[in-house]
């Protein structure tokens, strides 16, 4: 009898956590789908669509995502202290979201989207359900991976000042990452790819520079970027 009672209790527990996981997954699927829409909109920057227009469309998904993350937080809040038990179920998707938000933010302001800013945009400033630092960092690495392609296409479209700006941004970002003492894990691997992005952008900048196409404004320190109103 005691054996049965114990297993009956387990059954309830396992079913609870199983259904919790199901609900998490449902939200995560929605997150993924919204992310894809945002990504597809953003892909248009490579086709020289005006940035404000591209951003406007992509931004419509931010609120959707915010709502979804809020929904996710609510689900997870039901089982306090177990954030990291289910964390793996939304990691990849969250990293992708961060990467897109950071890219959009850079397009708009020329600066790095901070961790707290990212949390804010996704409504994650809550203490129970925050944005894991490693997920944020991986997302930033993913954003960096988009840069070489962006620079190449901008130059093709005639924006010869783009490589200089991106190079400055990536150099600073790379230096900041180097301060971290990364273990031999996923984040470390992703960070290692950033070196190649940097190198590629240096090459593009070189191509522009040697042909005298870079704008005379060699003053690397100026902060302005594409999208300021």
């Amino acid at each position: 009898p005691s054996l049965e009672k114990q297993f009956e209790k387990f059954r309830v527990q396992l079913e609870d956590s199983g259904s919790l996981r199901e609900r998490i997954r449902a939200v995560v699927l929605e997150i993924e789908s919204a992310t894809r829409l945002m990504q597809a909109s953003l892909l248009l920057v490579h086709q020289s669509k005006p940035i404000p227009e591209v951003l406007e469309k992509a931004k419509t998904q931010i609120n959707v995502l915010k709502d979804l993350f809020n929904k996710l937080a609510e689900v997870v809040r039901e089982c306090p202290g177990q954030y990291y038990r289910y964390h793996g179920d939304w990691r990849t998707e969250t990293q992708m979201v961060v990467s897109l938000l950071a890219f959009m933010h850079w397009l708009e302001t020329g600066t790095l989207l901070m961790h707290t800013e990212a949390e804010e945009k996704l409504g994650l400033n809550d203490s129970d359900f925050g944005l894991d630092v490693e997920d944020y960092l991986v997302g930033i690495c993913f954003m960096s991976n988009e840069m070489p392609r962006y620079v190449v296409n901008q130059v093709t479209a005639g924006d010869y000042d783009c490589p200089r700006k991106v190079l400055k941004f990536l150099t600073d970002l790379h230096a900041a990452f180097r301060m971290l003492n990364l273990r031999n894990d996923f984040l470390r691997k992703k960070f290692d790819t950033m070196k190649y992005d940097l190198r590629r952008v240096e090459e593009v900048y070189y191509d522009v520079k040697i042909r005298g196409l870079a704008t005379s404004g060699d003053s690397v320190e100026d902060q302005g970027t594409q999208g300021q109103p």
Binding site: L43, V152, N153, T156, G158, V204, D207, L213
Partner: protein
């Protein structure tokens, strides 16, 4: 006792009868699968030939190259796709999909590749399926290429388009390359939204990685042309750089 024995034996032989039905079914299925695989291999081989034929295109031979490609493509349809049409009926389309899918994908690749070079547009699935209708006589259920195979073929198409673009740039057809670039980007972007919806997206996901590499290769080539062209302007002060480029290989080689 003898009647009882008879009853046993009849049960025994009824198992035998049933299993001989199953045996016939399995034999017929395997043999059909083999025929489908063979037809599919032929479709693959001959579609590849069409692709190579289209790659022979250049500024001066466009018409004649495409004309031959069109004929060859029709031959693939009439000779080999037709064999698939004859074999596949009813539930076979999905049951035997793995047996013919490689061939159909390659055919989609060839047909869309040809069509893009001819018209600059994507050959739609409906159009490609419509072109298969004449193969069926009314008694047969028509072969309709399914969406999955079409999309998988499209993914491979971008690889061929990349090769074409690189070659066209060397030949001075920069605008053509740029058109390819836009086209491939569009396909990539549209597929981004479609891939996670596929029945089994793992194949497609690896193809997406390759596809992005192709896009980047074309973009880099276009970048290179543009940067060179831009240098030309300050030096010689003329107008559109690509018009000059277009001439390079013609003028004096």
């Amino acid at each position: 006792r003898s009647t009882k024995l008879a009853r046993t034996m009849s049960t025994h032989s009824s198992i035998k009868d049933a299993f001989s039905t199953y045996a016939d079914y399995l034999n017929a299925l395997n043999e059909k699968r083999e025929r489908v695989v063979k037809a599919s291999r032929d479709v693959t081989m001959n579609s590849k030939k069409v692709i190579f034929q289209v790659h022979r295109i250049s500024k001066n031979n466009r018409e004649e190259v495409l004309e031959k490609a069109e004929k060859d493509l029709a031959a693939v349809r009439d000779l080999h796709i037709f064999r698939l049409v004859k074999e596949l009926q009813g539930t076979d389309f999905w049951k035997l999909r793995r047996a013919y899918s490689p061939g159909v994908q390659e055919y989609v690749e060839a047909a869309t590749f040809f069509k893009f070079c001819q018209t600059g547009n994507l050959l739609n699935l409906d159009e490609i399926n419509a072109s298969l209708l004449p193969l069926s006589d009314p008694s047969l259920e028509p072969l309709q290429i399914n969406l999955l195979d079409y999309l998988l073929g499209l993914a491979d198409l971008t690889g061929e388009l990349m090769r074409l673009a690189i070659g066209r740039i060397s030949d001075g057809e920069v605008e053509f390359a740029e058109r390819i670039c836009r086209f491939v980007r569009d396909i990539y972007r549209e597929l981004t939204l479609v891939v996670p919806l596929l029945d089994d997206s793992s194949d497609m996901e690896t193809k997406m990685v390759t596809m992005l590499q192709s896009v980047v290769k074309i973009e880099n080539a276009c970048f290179s042309v543009r940067v060179r062209g831009s240098e030309y302007i300050p030096l010689l002060g003329t107008g559109d750089p690509s018009s000059f480029l277009l001439g390079v290989s013609e003028v004096e080689l």
